[in-house]
Symmetry: C2
Subunit: 273 residues, 2 copies
């Protein structure tokens, strides 16, 4: 049995989708066709959405689930006339919040994203540019400005983690790959010593590292199991000797890596939500 | 008056934070101290969280707001004993969903993120690597594999948009900067012609472009208003002549750019939520 699930929002529908997705994963025996309906910010667009929702109701011969983050009452009224079942992710909580806070909510659309605050946008883009400019140790000159510097062997997840920290939290994240010379000496590279408080290590299971490297460069010595095992052992030895906090990324998502780094390092975020 | 707002989750708390943040923006007259409490996946961690919540209650002399995405009943019970007011973002909807779907939910922790599915993780990392390898027109050889190719003048938002499309939706997004030679000829560069169906243009207000370029390279001709105006006019002329869909990024967030591109181009996402 299959069903349609719609994520309906006056903005990007990303929040509605994340919440809806979290809920649906609790019902894994049912297969869902998941449809995003972003930018439903007028009665006309809501009417078009209803046509699509009702078509899905007919196609699957059961009520589509509608996870909505809509503020405009007029738009919600139109959606309510569809054949979907509504889970109102915002308004369900607005009334109890009003009660607790003792004030009325603004009922204003698009407050959470959008370019309302240019400084927020700029923070994020600056963080992203910082990550890109300070990727893979290609320059060290911006390290004094970095909020955090990720260490790790090649393909242990440094770059995606830096980019996610920048996009999600506005963190200035640089990274530095530990290569054979560093690993052989078992010492922290001299250039990193001034930034000891900003260092955070990534590690990874050798099997997993081999798998990732193989896809990238099959038949290279770089992707041999022994080489991977040697590098991982050596890098962890450095982390331990130098008391650098570190995380095994083998079985965690990028979100989890980023969140753990923030939590472990006590780093202040520059962006919220 | 200031209040504490906690986002409490058994995983990253990113979903709780996004939802909570959306709700709090509807009450802008109140200032909130926003605190993420991720990985609250045991009774012990919940007890530590309660200490922190109660300290905030005392500090601000009012109930902290708790936006929670917790599955484990034992953990929730501990949090309920705190002095915070709970907004249960998941369980509020689980029961009506069970009713509608006619089955019980799994009540399993950490289903939405995490590395449960390696193929999903790989999709995302592959998309991110694709974006990085195909940034700023530095190579064209992977263009046949691209899901979409963003066009635009320097600093119009191509790179952040590509990275966001990769991280959020697993889209293989390349980008190609239109430079003076292209703009002068008013023609689509020959190398792009085979990929006409994959092209999407970005544009930006000249004032805004100037502002961004000035921060990057002050006192350059590159950042002069006239140059910015010339480039923007020329690039929009190409988009119109070639019927390339395009978007003005001046007043929209990266999320909104990415969502609009998906919607306008009818692109299939490789990742959901």
């Amino acid at each position: 049995m299959k069903r349609a699930a719609f994520f309906v929002s006056d903005r990007t529908a990303i929040t509605a989708e994340m919440m809806g997705h979290s809920l649906l994963t609790q019902f894994e025996s049912i297969e869902f066709e998941q449809i995003n309906l972003p930018f439903i910010d007028s009665v006309e667009k809501a009417e078009q959405a209803v046509v699509q929702i009702n078509a899905a109701a007919e196609h699957y011969a059961c009520k589509p689930l509608l996870f909505i983050t809509l503020i405009d009452r007029a738009v919600i009224k139109v959606i309510e006339q569809s054949e979907g079942m509504i889970f109102d992710l915002l308004n369900t909580f607005i009334h109890p919040l009003e009660q607790e806070l003792g004030i009325h909510s603004a009922h204003a659309v698009g407050r959470s994203h959008g370019m309302r605050v240019y400084s927020t946008y700029k923070l994020r883009i600056d963080a992203l540019n910082f990550s890109l400019a300070n990727d893979d140790g290609n320059t060290l000159k911006h390290f004094p400005k970095a909020d955090i510097i990720l260490l790790g062997v090649s393909r242990s997840g440094k770059t995606p983690s830096c980019l996610f920290l920048a996009l999600q939290y506005g963190i200035l994240a640089a990274n530095y790959p530990l290569v054979d010379d560093d690993l052989e000496s078992s010492r922290l590279p001299e250039v990193l010593k001034p930034y000891r408080d900003k260092l955070f290590g990534l590690t990874i299971a050798p099997e997993r590292l081999q798998q990732i490297r193989k896809e990238r460069r099959p038949d290279s010595s770089y992707a041999e199991y022994q080489q991977c095992q040697y590098e991982v052992n050596a890098v962890e030895k450095i982390y331990r000797a130098q008391h650098i906090p570190f995380l095994d990324t083998s079985a965690v998502s990028i979100e989890e890596i980023a969140t753990t780094i923030l939590q472990t390092s006590g780093l202040e975020r520059r962006l919220h939500g």
